[in-house]
Amino acid sequence: MFTIHIPIYLKRGHLRVKIIKNYVSLFILFLICKEVFHIDFIDIKYFFPQRPIYIVFSLLVNYFYLKIVFDCIFQYMEIDTFSIIRMGKKKYHTMMFKRIMHTLISFVFFSIFTDLFCFHDICILGLIETVCIETVIGLWMSIFYKRLGTHTFMANLILIIFVKYLMTLASGF
């Protein structure tokens, strides 16, 4: 039987394609919010809104944000024992931190680009807040993934939503 062998570096490229897909989905989501529903982007991107339709979009946006961080590290988290045996604990944690940082840098550039392109404005405070939350959540995920297993993603999504809800209440937005 004829089979096509795809080398591992291309498969890792496949992971990048997955992350790009998440960004494209986010971008389309922002466009729909703006053009169809005329939703203020700050509401759904950085805070937790009160109106039901806003809440749906906010959940989707937060889902994609988390998925971007999750996709860049979850394979290493799943296979952490074998990875640590090969590279050592210190190198493993450094690599995880670097991966989260690289993802966040691309995330910041994407955010600035979409904010300017779609809404002609940048919410610096909201951006800083999101980056901080994603960094903490990314590290938290990499530490507790073994204990939470498949529930990690959902547990983190709920945590993010809860933190954003508290921040929204506190800021009186």
């Binding site: 498969k11 296979i79 045996i85 090969r86």
Partner: protein, 201 residues
Amino acid sequence: MLKVNHIKKSFTKNNILEDINLEINKGECLYIHGKNGCGKSTLFKIICDIIQSDSGTIEKDSDTYIGALIENPGFIENESLRFNLEFLASINHHYNEERIRELCHMYSLNYDSSSILKNYSVGMRQKAGIIQAVMEDQNLIFFDEPTRGLDEESIIVFEDMVNTLVKKGKSIVIASHDRLPHVHYTHTYLLEEGTLKSEDY
């Protein structure tokens, strides 16, 4: 190749390892046995840098490359065997497809199967774990309960593989309840009350 000096480890006031000393030289095959919870896996985890010891040191030669299978192997569940093995071998750029194919053939695993690891049985996962521990020409290999879930045929394959690797100068440490009668051990140890006692007579 590797020297373990005065390793101590406790978990919430429960002393697992009291004073462990061990030396592993080239071409040796060591067998460690002991009761459940005596610290065999903990010792392997400390040597492999997965957990830290409370005190003691581990001296490792610069050319020592460790391979290990410890407890339940964790793989990338939604990917194939091939993806997982390529992923691991590419971490240190030691991917040797011919060798991996040979090992998969030995253990009757289909390297080209698109089936994901999530659908593998305990025995198949164990075989995958054994393969990843030796596929990169590692020269110091640790096996913790390597025959768990393996059928009789695969146990014989495993024993033959261990003997072949030792003949080639690799060092292997096996921690198991089953002594594996066909493996030619150079040293045998009993891990009891936190210390490693030699049973060589």
